[in-house]
Amino acid sequence: MTREEPETRGEDMMIDAPKFTNPKPRIENPDEFNVHYLRIYYGKLFPYTDIHKWLSYGHDGKHPGCDEFYFGRREFSFTLENDVYLRYKSFKNASAMEDAIKVNFPYKIDIGAVYSVDPDKRHAYAQSGTNVFTPVERELVFDIDITDYDDVRYCCSGADVCSKCWPLMTVAIKVIDTSLREDFGFKHILWVFSGRRGVHCWVCDVKARRLTNEQRSAVAEYFRVYKGNENNARKVALMGHSLHPFLARSYVDFLKDFFEGELQANQSIFSSKEKYEKILEMISDEDIQLELREKWENAARSSLSEEATSLARWEQLKNTLYSKKQKAPSLRMCVEEIVFTFTYPRIDLEVSKQMNHLLKAPFCVHPKTGRVCVPIDPNNCDEFDPLAVPTLSQLIEEINSGGSKMDVDDDDVPDSDTSLLGKSIKFFRSSFLEPLLKSCKEEIESSYKSKIGKSKDSFSW
């Protein structure tokens, strides 16, 4: 997680006045990201109207059932140059939000919960009995970061990401997205590139927004399989006599093929002693470990490629384990455990569990890479390349060369396929925003009707 993490917990970190803690700006990639470019981005490219439409969830004031103050009760936070952090910002409409962003030029914008009252006015309510300042709605969110997979990727570590390990994110998206739709019945799901090395997921159905912390925790735990740290070798323990249907589907539809295909090809997880020892440790039976270790240590130098060797060893391991699985309950699903360890999504549980947790807004620019946090299409996520995401400098370049086409006066950012950002905006609108708003309007309509109906009944004699 990024350095903002401590401030996102609890409401006691209320730093409203700007503090100049660090005069030297820490920009790693000044060619890709700098304040000047950022200003232009916020001036011409950031999709204020789209964000406002999304977060208003249909409460645009056009229907009597609308809550015109809904948007104004949403918390935002800004991280400014010099690490200054401003929480509990709220805006009564799109232009107020736009003005604030154009004044502050935040390096990062986070979106928080919708509260019972304006975050701005929270001090008037904090302690009293009935009218408390408390979150009332918040998307169900997930954060997957590739650094959480460092123990199973050999190409990169830390902040780096490449085409060999990014597929771990791809398979994570597939597993989680499928489950959110099939198991939980959610429909309005937005996946966003975090700008450097991970993905965020925003579940925006009204049912999701109204989940309590306990229910969010339940969903997060439902997704949790990996329970690892340095102290245990067997980080995935699948008990019972079969996999739960969710895990079985994930295994059969996504994980198994990914492990035996792309993962092996990219990572060759059995090709060296150091690598295969890690896997042998996951087998709880010492004799089997010994048997395999001997086979592989004494293998003659073969002409096989790393990948082929790796695959061959995997076959051997599988055969050995399948034949010996009666030996002990912990061996029953050892093969699956190994596959899950390497491939199953590792979400950051804390992000999902609490309503007041803040998460970076889509279409922000990542300060370290200069890349825009663009949406990812879960149905085409195999094609997403984090290294091909438009950077600030590319966008600025495009503006300069494109000339008048970009210098448009209207509210909406153009979504033509010809511009770098246009494709993303178009996708955001057509696959996510429009269906969402349609459903929101229906929801507002129907709950208004039922309210009217109820009050009509109460007047009946």
Partner: protein, 454 residues
């Protein structure tokens, strides 16, 4: 719920067409006669105590179902169904008042009421169970027929993933929004599809019980608040004494086995008597030291108390012998007194291991001439009592409070107040057994130090 004196009860709840288990969400708007207030509560308490015993004896769920059925029939039955329901509800709410007053009481009540609810739920037929579940406002729909068939494989997988080797599913499943069963979702203990969780019948019981427990737990906290702020004071002459007396009735250990605090040795006994004995036992002890004799009632009351406090048989014999032989001689002691001491410890005759007397028994005893047993708060004259309390170290202010309780015949409360005054602490549970007084006192005087090896 309004409590009135000897008046005919007005309209009670309509019995529902399917009798459901009451969930005790609100006190019903009815009038209750004062006598019924106490009697109903006592009957329910008998049921709860029975449940407690059953659990302590390790009965399995089916045995507990049978036990609860028997207990309920025995104590809570009424020929008129609506009367039975009224008694159920009234007794529960009265006991809430009684058992909200300390953490220990709350814990016991919550456990027993939840267990009672669990087994009464299990005893209901399918229809009634569904009705009960509906009363919690949870949306459960039974899954049957074709839909159940189509899900069989997935449900079987869940069953196997939870450790069962065969994929036989239960006969009844419920379709429930996943939000209502977070525990089951978190543990991947249910199959979910399009936002619905498929909950097995056996899982339903624990769900409903969880809901019930949480609701009663919260209610107890609210009741306690109301009790301490308004009810206790407002009802101090009418309901409060009943409430405070009820918790002593059937609850509590019988002190036939001493615990870690209560290993006293003969050399310490005088000191311990002064510091930790309740007034009744202190008096007996002092009289014994003074007269070197106690009559039968006193020997029983003090002797059993000392047993509960941890005095071993050999030590007890030595103790009584040491005193009595100062007056009667050792042969007579062996012939006439040793036998009954051994009898108390279950070593003679029908070998019953007698339990030390609780306050109720002591208060209701009738000490005659030359007797020193009984309850000083009841059996002493005012002057004698004041003198005794003075010797315990009470201030005149403290004494007045205690005497006030005595005047109103609240003897155990008087003893409790004495305890509080002597040790400078509150005793929310109230004294209902001399050995309890002793143990509580020891807890205060000897906090948390490990006992020396015997």
């Amino acid at each position: 719920m309004e409590v009135i004196r000897s008046q005919k009860r007005t309209a009670s709840n309509d019995a529902a067409s399917i009798p459901t288990l009451p969930l005790y969400f609100t006190a019903p708007p009815m009038e209750v006669r004062l006598e019924e207030f106490e009697l109903f509560a006592i009957d329910r308490l008998r049921v709860l105590k029975g449940v407690s015993d059953g659990l302590a004896r390790g009965k399995n769920p089916k045995e507990m179902d049978d036990l609860v059925s028997t207990l309920w029939k025995e104590h809570m039955r009424h020929s008129d169904v609506s009367e039975m329901l009224n008694k159920d509800i009234i007794s529960h709410f009265v006991l809430r008042l009684v058992y909200c007053r300390s953490d220990e009481l709350k814990k016991w009540f919550l456990s027993m009421e939840t267990a009672l609810f669990r087994h009464r739920f299990r005893l209901q037929n399918f229809e009634a169970q569904r009705a009960t579940v509906g009363e919690f406002g949870l949306q459960y729909k039974a899954v049957t027929g074709a839909e159940l068939e189509s899900l069989k494989e997935k449900l079987g997988q869940v069953v196997r993933s939870l450790g069962q080797i065969s994929p036989t599913i239960e006969t009844i499943y419920y379709k429930v929004p996943f939000e209502e069963v977070p525990d089951l979702v978190a543990g991947r203990r249910v199959f979910i599809q399009k936002g619905n969780a498929f909950v097995a019948g056996s899982q339903l019981v624990s769900l409903v019980v969880t809901q019930f427990r949480s609701h009663i737990s919260k209610a107890l906290i609210l009741t306690n608040r109301k009790w301490t702020t308004t009810i206790r004071e407002r009802e101090k002459d009418r309901l409060t004494p009943i409430v405070e007396g009820l918790s002593s009735s059937y609850l509590g250990p019988d002190y036939s086995q001493s615990n870690e605090y209560a290993d006293i040795s003969l050399k310490d006994i005088d000191q311990v008597a002064k510091s930790s004995f309740p007034l009744c036992m202190r008096h007996l002890f002092e009289k014994l030291r003074e007269d070197h004799h106690l009559k039968h009632g006193g020997r029983m009351q003090l002797g059993l108390f000392l047993k509960g406090v941890g005095l071993k048989l050999e030590d007890a014999l030595a103790f009584w012998r040491a005193e009595f032989t100062k007056k009667v001689g050792s042969e007579k002691f062996d012939k006439e007194y040793a036998y009954s001491i051994r009898h108390n410890y279950g070593k003679e005759g029908k070998r019953t291991d007698y339990t030390p007397y609780a306050c109720q028994k002591i208060i209701s005893s009738a000490p005659g001439v030359g007797d020193h047993h009984g309850c000083p708060y009841r059996h002493f004259s005012d002057d004698n009592l004041r003198a005794a309390l003075g010797r315990m170290g009470l201030s005149s202010r403290g004494m007045e409070d205690v005497m006030d309780k005595v005047r109103n015949k609240h003897y155990q409360l008087a003893c409790t107040m004495t305890f509080e005054a002597v040790y400078g602490t509150t005793c929310d549970a109230g004294i209902n057994h001399p050995n309890q007084y002793f143990e509580e006192s020891q807890k205060i005087l000897k906090p948390k130090t490990p006992t020396a090896p015997v």
